[in-house]
Amino acid sequence: MFDEPSLRAALADVGYRRVKRHLYRAEWSTEIEHFIEFHLYGTPKDYLAADFGLRNKEAETFADRSIKAYGGPWTKLIRYDEQTDFCIRFSLGKLAGSWGLRSSLTISSMPGPLLAKKVRDDIEQKLFPLIRDVTSLSRFMSLLATDIEPFAWLYSNAAMRAAMIVSVAQRLGATPDDVRPLFEPHFKGIAYGISDGRNPDPRAYIDNIMRDAASRDAPNSMSASRT
């Protein structure tokens, strides 16, 4: 049986507080918020997977609006909760490298307090060296732009990630020409993110979101001025 009280206590040791069921937010978050979200699955639910994620709320909101403004019809299906959603997320179990099949821990294989300790230790020893100091916009910008494990673009909606970069870069004082080269290696992924891969135009999407960020208008009100 899943021992949530033990897990909650262990996460509190490393500065995470429960937000809602299976979702924890770092108390040491700044304008860059850090989350851990757990997933229970199996029949019975005997497997525990976890994602770690980062969010700048303004960038995340901008990305959500951007993809809904310029993405394909399927983007209307996206459900977005400004309080708790974060889409820059990666597998904690994969990062830890010792969680077992499907980057998951088997709940029945160890006592609850031991499982909680393992999660806490992996956060402290494997995750914190990577993300604990990502607490400023500039460091978040670096993380978004880089394409190395464990933060590879492969695991993200590239169109949303590009929009976050535009939002953050704009606040850091970059020019569009400074930022544009960052996207060239990811045009294919951005095209997948904004469309269904059949009729994508990632350059136009980038131009649109850069203009939106500069004008600070909501992208979803700028459909008349699409490139």
């Binding site: 199996g42 499907r102 990577l130 670096s142 464990p150 695991y155 970059a174 020019t175 891969g197 500069a214």
Partner: protein
């Protein structure tokens, strides 16, 4: 990588040991407000965006080579994924789902990545309890390896919720892969059994058909899923017995590939 050149071109030198962070007095939103800075960079006149994006510490967002080096060193345990290899026709050539002599056709799928000791024939019946759950987990892991071996990118390796138009509850797929040829995300359902019937689920099949037609959205990642695949592992089954026939035909009509295997690591025929 492009951002390396970008950094070398634009990023300004920072304090030793912390080249990413601007000094506190350069933070764009620190302090009591913005002050005029005659050295603040401007977008040259004549450009459409002239005069914009010039607040704060200017220059460019620093993509720290130091961070990249540190992250790379810290994450040495993860092997580099082959992201550029050509996709084979694993999914596409099976999409017809033809039935031949009572078996679903598929290309030979043989993986040497899953050791035999992962699979314990008979254990799901003999042990009862959680064994079917364990065997399913192993079956899913084997299926993931099979897709990875064929250059599909593993997008999510755990059970994941996909919102489907017209349904209040999400469809949970065992994992999600990306087809490297067309970029489509595919939700994969793995069915495992021993000497038993592969039983399809009415609601799952209904959602699968809609996903194939209209797509679905991965709730946590805001990405669309545009394809569905089934892999079955049925130890001791000479013939595939998929119930109900009506649901099986619904999958076929939607061109959802249905790959049948004996045990993880091989498929029939």
């Amino acid at each position: 990588m492009a951002f390396t050149n970008f950094f070398e071109t634009f990023a300004r030198p920072r304090r030793a040991g912390n080249i990413l962070e601007p000094p506190p007095d350069e933070q764009p939103h620190s302090g009591s407000g913005h002050h005029y800075d005659p050295n603040q960079p401007r977008v040259p006149a004549g450009r459409p965006d002239a005069g914009q994006w010039t607040r704060g510490w200017g220059g460019a967002p620093a993509i720290s080579t130091e961070d990249i080096r540190r992250w790379s060193e810290t994450f040495q345990s993860v092997p580099t994924r082959n992201r550029t290899g050509p996709a084979d026709d694993f999914h596409r050539e099976n999409s017809a789902g033809e039935v031949q002599n009572g078996r679903l056709s598929s290309d030979a799928v043989v993986s040497d990545l899953i050791p035999d000791d992962l699979w314990l024939p008979g254990s799901d019946i003999a042990a009862g309890g959680n064994e079917p759950n364990i065997q399913h987990q192993k079956g899913v892991a084997a299926a993931i390896q099979e897709y990875a071996r064929r250059n599909y990118s593993i997008f999510v390796d755990r059970s994941v919720a996909v919102d489907v138009p017209g349904f209040g509850e999400p469809r949970f797929y065992d994992f999600i892969v990306r087809d490297p040829t067309n970029g489509y995300l595919i939700g994969v359902e793995v069915k495992t059994t021993l000497y038993e019937t592969i039983r399809l689920d009415t609601e799952q099949v209904a959602k699968d058909v809609v996903v194939m037609r209209d797509g679905g959205t991965i709730r946590s990642l805001k990405e669309t899923v545009q394809g569905v695949g089934y892999i079955t592992y049925c130890v001791g089954c000479d013939l595939v017995d998929t119930r109900s026939k009506r649901l099986h035909w619904a999958l076929r009509a939607a061109k959802i590939p249905f790959i049948h295997g004996g045990r993880p690591g091989d498929t029939l025929p």
